[in-house]
Amino acid sequence: MLSCKDISHLTSEIIDNELSFSMRIKVKFHLFMCHSCRNFVKQMRATADTLKQLKPKQPNEDEINQQVEKIMGVIKELDPTKHK
């Protein structure tokens, strides 16, 4: 029998569908019996889905300008005929 603690270790594999068949049966059985773990899995799934919707961090305008300037400098150095 899986414990709630076991389920808490397996949650990512549960939500990413990475469990073996036999494990899936054991997990299903536990979740059928246990409201708290059902709740936890649901919340972890919402957490993962939230991360998927979150926009990746972008550098700010200054950081972008600085980096692009460096890159354009390198390009000119490597090939002086190339610049726009």
Binding site: A46, T50, Q58, V68
Partner: protein
């Protein structure tokens, strides 16, 4: 900002030295490049590694064969720059949190009784759906702050896999970790972010 119909078009522009194309790539890739560099060499020289990587990218672009996405290819160059730096300094590849991998769960043990059942079962969330979580500016910030607090390797995995949607297989190659380690790290990161969201849930009601 210029949009690129496909990666081929973008790459063509990059090879020709087009500033707008580089601006586009810096805006969208630079943060991930930094995450990867930090995960491998630490914060202090991560920026240097990214500069090395840009030089390699510029030189190697004409030879890019498109067998992976441009982003994956660039991140692999960052990873190689970082690893060769470590070799040069004859340092070991010591990813920050690889050492404590054996601690499987990131939930504190007092959450569970000795028999493994919940000592404090997860509480009800008032804001429970991803859409609602995203819509709440406060929770949004809480999630972002929780990500910033993660060890750098976990930050990389969360960013590359969840937000950028890279394949786990590619991420493992970039960060030079095994598939099973990457799963453990992703799980710990998610659990920590769950904790951050959980801590905040129901707070409004308490304060009323």
């Amino acid at each position: 900002m210029t949009n690129y119909p496909n990666e081929q078009a973008l790459i063509k522009q990059l090879i020709s030295g087009d500033e707008q194309a580089y601006r586009h790539v810096v805006k969208n890739y630079q943060s991930s490049m930094l995450y990867v560099a930090r995960s491998i060499v630490g914060t202090s020289i991560a920026d240097e590694i990214v500069q090395d990587a840009w030089l390699s990218v510029i030189k190697a672009l004409p030879k890019f064969e498109g067998r992976s996405s441009l982003k994956t290819w660039i991140l692999r160059i960052v990873s190689n720059s970082a690893k060769s730096r470590l070799r040069k300094e004859s340092r070991q590849f010591a990813a920050g949190d690889a050492a404590d991998l054996e601690i499987l769960s990131s939930l504190p043990s007092e959450k569970f009784n000795d028999n493994g059942s919940w000592a404090t079962p997860p509480k009800h969330w008032d804001i429970a759906s991803p859409d609602a979580l995203i819509a709440s500016e406060e929770l949004n910030n809480i999630v972002r702050r929780a990500i910033d607090k993660l060890p750098s390797l976990q930050q990389s995995i969360v960013t590359l896999r969840e937000m950028e949607g890279l394949k786990m297989e590619d991420i493992c190659k970039i960060l030079e970790i095994s598939e099973s380690n990457s799963r453990v790290l992703l799980h710990r990161a998610r659990t920590k972010i769950w904790q951050a969201i959980d801590k905040h849930q129901g707070k409004e009601n308490v304060e009323l």
